[in-house]
Amino acid sequence: MRQKILELLEQNSKMTVDDIAIMLQCPKDEIEKEIKEMEKEKIICGYHTLINWDKTDKDVVTALIEVRVTPQRGQGFDKIAERIYRFREVKAVYLMSGGFDLTVIIEGKTMKEVALFVAEKLSTLDSVLSTATHFVLKKYKDYGMILEEDKKDERMVVSP
């Protein structure tokens, strides 16, 4: 049941408990209870809105930074990852396999702002060996949604 609720909410976080209850043929209070518990257990960590800021007046620049670190003795990568993700500008931190250790995603108003943040706040951290900053020029698809598509229903209006 939990997995089914999660799959529905992942597609549309605005789906009402009423609708979920009908779609899963399960009483409303049971659904509410499950959702509250999953929120407590941090299985559901938040409800976000996917916005295409390029279509608004707000300036948003996103950068993907490859960070190489020396892991701290006794703490591995977790401590340095925490020092990085505590920054408000940092939107995501992932531990990676391969040629570098951490992917850090940063949002700022301009490229300069982001670059300065990396230079002043990120590269200077003790355990950080090197950073490589890549700016996102265009987002085609994010979180499973194609951003540009204009979905029109092209089917014949009535068919047998």
Binding site: E7, L8, N12, M15, D19, I22, M23, L24, Q25, D153, R155, M156, V157, V158, S159, P160
Partner: protein, 391 residues
């Protein structure tokens, strides 16, 4: 000047759907719940394979019965999904399920034969039966039986001239399905009267409580059943025109003969795409089925809340609520609903006379659109009820 059109064709009534299509197509901003095809795009990997085959220049005729590779995959698919064992020489790839129906009738019918057609049903069965030179005998199914076919109903309408019986489950327009136990009961009567079954299983992947059971899997039935299935509904490939017929080798050979002269072969591009669908499309089908299931429950719930009786359909993507008690014919209801609330649904009479008093509502739409449509229909139904009270 000679007659341009023969009497048989002239006598076939125009499709009830067509009339609605013409009205609805003229109007703007309507929400149409009248389609008979999925809203999902064909999964990308299937489209990609079709496009790739064009890039590689695969644009020539294939063998008449369909590419061997495709027929092999169809046999594997039928085994994997429905535990049916067929050989490649028992498979014919057709231009949609529609061509399969037409070919079967044309290959089998002798003048004077009767064909039993349970209604409400897909609009093609009767016209194709007439065009093949047989006499269609309608079996009107009942809401109290959840629009399933019963052994008694077959007994009532069978004669010694009956050759073929159509078995359209999961059903368009009612969404009804038949379980293995229910099929066993009618299989008895079918064998007793030595009938042949055309089992239209085009919606076989879209069942919601139990897995689909084909009547051909029952003892004594495989040699007297022709299964019609295809890619249109399961894989969202309606426009690709890909279907298949599986059945006794002798019949398939005859159907292939007609197909060879009338069609040559189904589109090559579609065949390549279909192979990809069968090989790697199971996850897509399951995702679509889950989505339909959620929508189905929302729509059935919506109609029941409006006070319209609606049995729970366990297959396809249609709901068949009853509008009896509102003192209107199905056509009147649908026309008024279209003009007053801008929602198009199809009158049950488009699928047979016993569809009077019902409407077919398709849920091949997003939940958001369905909810808006249900709200509008509820407003309309309330207005009818109010008007009735004032009388």
């Amino acid at each position: 000047m000679m007659n341009l059109v023969n009497d048989t064709v002239k006598a076939i009534p125009p499709s009830g759907i067509r009339k609605f299509f013409d009205i609805a197509a003229e109007m703007e901003n309507i929400i149409s719940l009248g389609v008979g095809e999925p809203d999902f795009d064909t999964p990308w990997h299937i489209r990609e394979e079709g496009i790739y085959s064009l890039e590689k220049g695969k644009t020539f005729y294939t063998s008449n019965a369909g590419m061997l590779e495709l027929r092999e995959e169809i046999c594997k698919y039928l085994k994997r999904k429905f535990d049916l064992t067929y050989q490649v020489n028992e498979v014919l790839v057709t231009v949609g399920g529609s061509e399969g129906i037409d070919l079967t009738l044309r290959a089998m019918i002798e003048p004077g034969d009767e064909v039993l057609i349970p209604e409400p049903c897909f609009v093609s069965y009767k016209p194709c039966t007439i065009l093949a030179g047989a006499k269609p005998i309608t079996i009107p199914l009942k809401e109290e039986n959840e629009f399933k076919l019963t052994a008694e109903e077959i007994e009532t309408y069978v004669t010694e001239k009956t050759k073929i019986i159509f078995l359209p489950f999961p059903n368009n327009p009612t969404g009804a399905t038949m379980s293995k136990e229910e099929l066993e009961k009618i299989a008895e009567v079918i064998i007793k009267h030595d009938l042949f079954v055309i089992s239209d299983e085009i919606y076989a992947e879209l069942t919601y409580e139990k897995k689909h059971c084909s009547i051909a899997s029952l003892p004594g039935m495989m040699e007297r059943t022709l299964i019609i299935n295809g890619f249109s509904k399961a894989y969202s490939m309606t426009g690709w025109r890909m279907g298949f017929a599986v059945g006794p080798e002798e019949l398939i050979r005859a159907m292939t003969k007609i197909h060879q002269y009338a069609i040559m072969c189904t589109p090559t591009t579609s065949q390549y795409a279909a192979i990809e669908a069968l090989r790697n499309g199971d996850t897509d089908v399951e995702e679509m089925r889950k989505a339909y299931n959620g929508r189905r429950r929302v729509v059935v719930n919506g109609f029941r809340e409006m006070g319209l009786s609606c049995f729970e359909p366990l297959g396809a993507f249609y709901v068949f609520p009853s509008i009896q008690g509102l003192n209107m014919t199905s056509e009147e209801f649908c026309t008024k609903l279209l003009y007053e609330q801008g929602v198009a649904v199809v009158p049950g009479t488009a699928f047979g006379d016993c569809g009077e008093g019902f409407i077919r509502v398709s849920y091949a739409y997003s939940i958001e659109e369905l909810k808006v449509a249900l709200e509008r229909i509820a407003v309309f139904v309330d207005s009818i009820k109010d008007a009735k009270q004032k009388d």
